[in-house]
């Protein structure tokens, strides 16, 4: 009833091609941004910022990066956490070694470093495909954290490669409070999501999808496979790198490159499977789901064990988490391979037709 495009006439190509052609979507987005920028900082407390909102945004950005590579360009990668580690360490070094380096510039340069490393490890994708490539990206996942720990220069010779992020300072203003960090991360993520949304509907995004759907056919119609794949690796790694820098500076503060291990890569992969492969919105939905699930599981387990007067066995939470993650992945792949984003799309279609079924 409310969600209906009847009466919204488009009189120009610009209006027809805009990001959100339906007025209700535009209103919804503005409301959402208003909530995120105005209501959340007032309502949420420090726990919410530190444990839920900031990690959600950081991982949404990483998932966005992986989604560009895997969802749009069709190159399965199991190394996204390694590119996050590159971003984190690169941002740390730019801040440390270049005097007066603006924070956002070092984030961007960190993203570029990650992109360069991504292109390097993306080179095999020109020759190999599918599972062979997935295993090849594992090489990045194992090699990069090892290198970052081994070469002391990267962590300024701290023990076991730990880096401690400097305070975040932009034009003299220090982002210290969780709410300030949240707003900074939110801004970066929102802008990069907008960029991604535009990228995937531009020529480069369409060539990614052509390569994903069938690379031989894409080559036949004149899409340069090599450039397309490498650009996908670069852009994806750029997003992961910036996510890694934000992870270090806004979320955890102290990072050991080995924290960004294979488990983290899988977690990001799960985000896009559950959220929706090949969907910008899906990256956010999946990140929210995977960030909230452990917290929800923990409190549910606590409630159950208290209900029955049992002791919570140490390690039980992580086991149940493995079980639930695994089960959910299989469930989503079977029942809704396009993830939560597809469910949202179905809801919207139903709303447009309501009260008629077809």
């Amino acid at each position: 009833m409310l969600y209906r495009e009847a009466g919204q006439f488009k009189t120009s190509y610009a209006a027809d091609q805009q990001l959100l052609p339906i007025r209700q979507d535009r209103v919804a987005l503005i409301v959402l941004l208003a909530i995120a920028y105005l209501a959340v900082p007032v309502v949420a407390n420090d726990y919410w910022f530190n444990a839920i909102l900031i990690p959600f945004l950081v991982f949404a950005l990483a998932a966005l990066g992986l989604n560009i590579l895997t969802g749009y360009a069709g190159q399965l990668s199991l190394g996204s956490a390694a590119f996050m580690a590159v971003g984190a360490v690169a941002a740390y070094n730019f801040e440390l070694r270049v005097p007066g380096m603006p924070l956002l510039a070092s984030f961007a340069l960190a993203g570029l470093c990650a992109a360069a490393v991504g292109v390097l490890f993306g080179l095999p994708s020109l020759r190999i495909k599918g599972f062979y490539l997935a295993v090849a990206t594992l090489a990045a996942q194992f090699f990069i954290p090892w290198l970052l720990v081994k070469v002391g220069w990267f962590s300024n010779y701290s023990s076991s490669g730990v880096i401690t992020a400097q305070p975040m300072q932009i034009v003299g203003y220090v982002f210290e409070q969780p709410v300030e960090k949240y707003l900074l991360v939110l801004t970066v993520v929102a802008l990069m999501a907008l960029a991604a949304k535009n990228m995937v509907r531009s020529a480069v995004g369409r060539s990614w999808m052509a390569v994903r759907d069938m690379d031989v056919a894409a080559a036949v119609i004149g899409i340069p496979i090599m450039r397309t794949k490498l650009v996908a690796f670069a852009v994806s790694s750029f997003y992961c790198g910036v996510a890694g820098a934000l992870y270090a500076y806004a979320y955890v503060g102290t990072v050991q490159p080995e924290d960004l291990n294979l488990d983290m890569s899988f977690r990001i992969l799960f985000m896009i499977i559950i959220g929706g492969i090949g969907s910008i919105l899906g990256s956010f939905l999946g990140a929210a789901f995977i960030t909230l699930l452990p917290i929800f599981l923990e409190s549910a387990l606590h409630a159950i064990t208290q209900q029955f007067g049992l002791d919570l066995v140490p390690g039980m939470t992580s086991m149940v988490q493995l079980l639930v993650f695994g089960g959910l992945i299989i469930f989503f792949l079977i029942v809704e391979p396009n993830g939560l984003a597809r469910l949202w799309q179905i809801t919207k279609e139903k709303l447009r037709l309501w009260p008629f079924p077809h």
Partner: protein
């Protein structure tokens, strides 16, 4: 020179251990085109089932082995029924991701079983009656240390491969398996029951996982880290080619030997710890030359 030989032999023999795990991957990939990431979890769960039956319930070796095998067959059949059958005709990448989910699921279950059976998650020792000791005769004659346990593992792998080769090439089911691997639809149309075949393949993979789990468990204790063995087997796979049993063995030997040699001769220059990634980088460089692995089938893409 003796030192070099010793390192080389040690590497080759540990490569055989990787091959054992890689075999499980190859079997499933050959017959169903599924890249089964859960093989490591299956190795862990098989070893755990054996240890639980043998130690917690005090069963003799053969009884525990048979029951553990039954557990693996059950898991294989359930996997086929619950996970794979609904995903028929989905892209291979979806199936791969489903097996990642399956790996997590099995790992969660296995840890719960371990907690229930032994009340903690520490490594459980597993004894097969073979000592991990150097063979005296070789030590005296040639001054080379070779573990008798490693030799046993190599022998087991040899027998397993020979048995699988006979099974694939000489039996009715084996021929059906190869037909399915070639072309699902053609196999179905000549009356090969696809679902039964997949059930059998997963059971055989469960058997291989059990053998690998016993040997790895005897080597390093039955613990969660056994699941990581699968990560060691992956470079072996891409080196040897996904479709080839021989490739799994040769790849394992190459990776094992190269890894040990690199660790000894290259490790000191870069500060050690290279065993985590060396195999991957080696396999990656190799792939640049031969994208389908040593023995993999070359695919021709058609639009």
């Amino acid at each position: 020179m003796t030192f070099f030989l010793e390192v080389l032999i040690g590497g080759l023999l540990s490569g055989v251990m990787y091959s054992l795990v890689a075999l499980g991957f190859v079997l499933i990939y050959k017959a169903s085109g599924v890249f089964n990431f859960a093989q490591g979890a299956m190795v862990f769960i098989a070893a755990l089932a054996y240890v639980t039956l043998a130690e917690r319930f005090g069963l003799p070796f053969w009884a525990a082995f048979a029951l553990a095998l039954a557990v693996m067959v059950l898991i294989g059949i359930l996997t086929e029924r619950i996970v794979l059958r609904p995903l028929v005709n989905q892209p291979q990448i979806s199936l791969f991701m489903a097996t990642i989910g399956l790996a997590f699921f099995l790992e969660g279950i296995a840890q719960m079983v371990q907690l229930w059976a032994f009340n903690d998650l520490s490594p459980r020792p597993l004894t097969l009656g073979i000592q991990d000791q150097p063979i005296e005769w070789l030590m005296n004659e040639f001054d080379i240390l070779v573990s008798s346990f490693d030799l046993l593992a190599a022998a087991v792998a040899g027998v397993l491969v020979a048995a699988l080769a006979v099974f694939f090439n000489r039996t009715r089911i084996g021929r059906a398996l190869r037909a399915v691997a070639d072309d699902h639809q053609a196999a179905l149309s000549v009356g090969i029951p696809l679902k039964t075949i997949w059930g059998i393949v997963w059971s055989v993979a469960g058997f291989v996982a059990l053998v690998a789990g016993l040997l790895w468990g005897a080597r390093s204790g039955v613990q969660f880290a056994l699941t990581l063995v699968a990560l060691k087997a992956l470079p072996v796979l891409i080196l040897g080619g996904f479709e080839s049993i021989a490739g799994a063995i040769v790849g394992g030997l190459i990776i094992g030997a190269a890894e040990k040699l690199a660790e000894v001769y290259l490790g000191p220059f870069v500060g050690g710890g290279i065993e985590g990634w060396f195999a991957y980088v080696l396999a990656l460089l190799f792939l640049l030359v031969r994208p389908e692995g040593l023995f993999g089938e070359r695919h021709i893409d058609r639009v």
